[in-house]
């Protein structure tokens, strides 16, 4: 399956909505094992996306993802800004000439996260959501269950990257905030895909 411009725009807009609705929940998750700002950071990014779209409505896929990336890079800060920013920037570059299968697109985003964060799955970061979803898409069985399972596994992990890693064993039993915001991204995608 490929996502065309209209659907992709709806995806990003739904993501923006979900972030705004769950700002305090994300802050609370980050208060438990981080520094309490992930909701505030992502909300700033969400508002920046809306502003950018209002200023210039993206008229092709590459532009849509690039605009999203720049809003995140320029407004989010923290760890989440460069991470989401790099994922979407890489996705934007990849669809410059041709659209891609969703599974390939998300895999490219996931690889961007790994490169920017010098990290991988099982370190209790948002990669624990992106990578299993990219894989599930490739296998044709991406659904809400995929997201829930990814979050559950993430919750049980001990962090080895990001702020939560300072807590070592004590990071267990909490959902990583970046994984939760990524879960919203993919729940938005599910809605758009109509699954």
């Amino acid at each position: 399956m490929k996502l065309e411009l209209v659907a992709a725009k709806k995806w990003i807009n739904l993501f923006v909505e979900k972030i705004e609705d769950n700002k305090s929940e994300l802050n609370e998750l980050d208060t438990a094992i981080g520094d309490g700002d992930h909701g505030t950071n992502m909300d700033r990014g969400a508002k920046a996306i809306t502003d950018s779209f209002a200023k210039k409505d993206p008229d092709n896929l590459s532009d849509l993802y690039k605009t999203t990336a720049f809003a995140m890079i320029q407004k989010v800060g923290g760890a989440a800004g460069p991470l989401y920013g790099t994922a979407f920037l890489d996705m934007s570059k990849a669809v410059k000439t041709d659209n891609l299968e969703l599974s390939d697109l998300i895999q490219i985003g996931s690889d961007g996260l790994k490169r920017r964060g010098e990290s991988d799955v099982c370190m209790k970061t948002m990669i624990d959501v992106w990578q299993p979803i990219a894989t599930a898409m490739k296998n044709g069985n991406f659904n809400q269950q995929t997201i829930n399972e990814a979050l559950n596994e993430n919750k049980a992990m001990v962090a080895t990257k990001g702020r939560a890693s300072y807590l070592e064993e004590k990071s267990k039993g909490h959902i990583d905030p970046g994984s939760q915001s990524s879960a919203y991204l993919f729940e938005a995608l599910l809605e758009v895909m109509g699954v």
Binding site: D35, G36, T40, G78, V158
Partner: protein
């Protein structure tokens, strides 16, 4: 939460505006950013390597309070406890580069490292020479492959002081980066909290401690520490922290500098009492302290607590720590 603020969203721009407007002779704000850059006559005449630091807000006076002759060329303020964005850092780099390159002093948090890295890539595309040093002085976190590595905390102020002095004296970029790394390797910090900080956007303290409890090994962003214990007399705290830090130095000879740092909500009175006990500990161990500094240098909003930094410093570094500077807050 009771705080003297307006909208939570505008905390950082309003704070930077207040800082710049009350210190016009020292600093100016770069348009469209929350970056602050030197504004003194000497800066514009002088040709030296630029020294830029920055990070999340909430640690004031770090970093903007240390911009000025003999310390930082510019400082970039992110949102509260949030790394600044690459474009802001990039603007600060451009504003201070005088052709000899720019050294970035970054605290070791994934957000800071990533955003400064992106800014470095942007500046290098403009042919500006960039070197980066990453401060990781907090010994309460083990430096293993299983963590992000040690955090950058109060020792950052001492690193900025030594590197700033060397940059003023005309040291080139490569040597400055080497010096900075050497200083970092010899700087160790540990902190305790009596009460956690309240992030304005969250509205309640990051964690709760009982009326007689303190937490050892906390970070400057409400990161939990390694142990909760009953509060002890200052003497005993000093004994424990000095032991813990000095254990990290294999060779205990030579001279040392200390920094007793208040976390924002702890009065100077307690900081001086603790400093007195630290000096007693050091002299009972026959360790030669040649420089000491006490105050709220690297804070964590309204956190109540204190950190101790010990730096193994040869006489040249001691001299660089002592040199007068013209900044808002050193």
């Amino acid at each position: 939460m009771k705080k003297i603020i307006n909208d939570v969203e505008n905390i950082v721009p309003e704070m930077i505006s207040g800082l710049v407007r009350t210190n016009k002779n020292l600093v100016r704000q770069i348009d469209g950013t929350t970056a602050v850059v030197r504004n003194d006559a000497k800066f514009n005449e002088n040709k030296q390597v630029g020294v830029v630091s920055g990070g999340g807000s909430g640690h004031e006076p770090l970093h903007a309070g240390y911009v000025g002759d003999g310390m930082l060329s510019a400082a970039v303020a992110g949102e509260v406890f949030t790394s600044p964005t690459p474009d802001q850092i990039y603007e600060a780099i451009k504003a201070v580069d005088q052709g000899q390159g720019v050294l970035l002093i970054v605290k070791n948090y994934s957000g800071d490292v990533m955003n400064f890295d992106m800014a470095k890539e942007m500046a290098e595309a403009d042919d500006i020479k960039i070197a980066t040093i990453v401060v990781d002085d907090d010994i309460s976190v083990k430096n293993s492959e299983f963590t992000q590595g040690k955090r950058g905390v109060a020792g950052t102020a001492l690193v900025e002081k030594v590197v700033g002095a060397a940059a003023r004296s005309g040291m080139n970029l490569d040597d400055l980066a080497k010096l900075g790394q050497n200083v970092i390797d010899n700087t160790k910090t540990i902190g305790i909290a009596l009460h956690a900080a309240t992030v304005p956007a969250v509205g309640h303290p990051g964690f709760e401690l009982k009326d007689d409890e303190i937490e050892y090994g906390i970070g400057i962003h409400n990161e939990r520490g390694y142990a909760i214990e009953k509060i002890k007399p200052s003497k005993e705290l000093a004994h424990e922290l000095v032991e813990k830090i000095m254990d990290e130095f294999t060779d205990k000879s030579g001279s040392y500098a200390i920094l007793v740092n208040g976390m924002g909500g702890t009065p100077l009175m307690e900081q001086y009492i603790f400093a007195n006990d630290v000096l007693n500990e050091m002299s009972s161990k026959q360790i030669d302290v040649e420089y000491s500094k006490v105050g709220n240098l690297v804070t964590s909003l309204d956190m109540q607590g204190i950190s101790l930094t010990i730096m193994k410093a040869d006489s040249e570094w001691i001299k660089m720590l002592q040199e007068p500077v013209t900044t808002i807050a050193w």
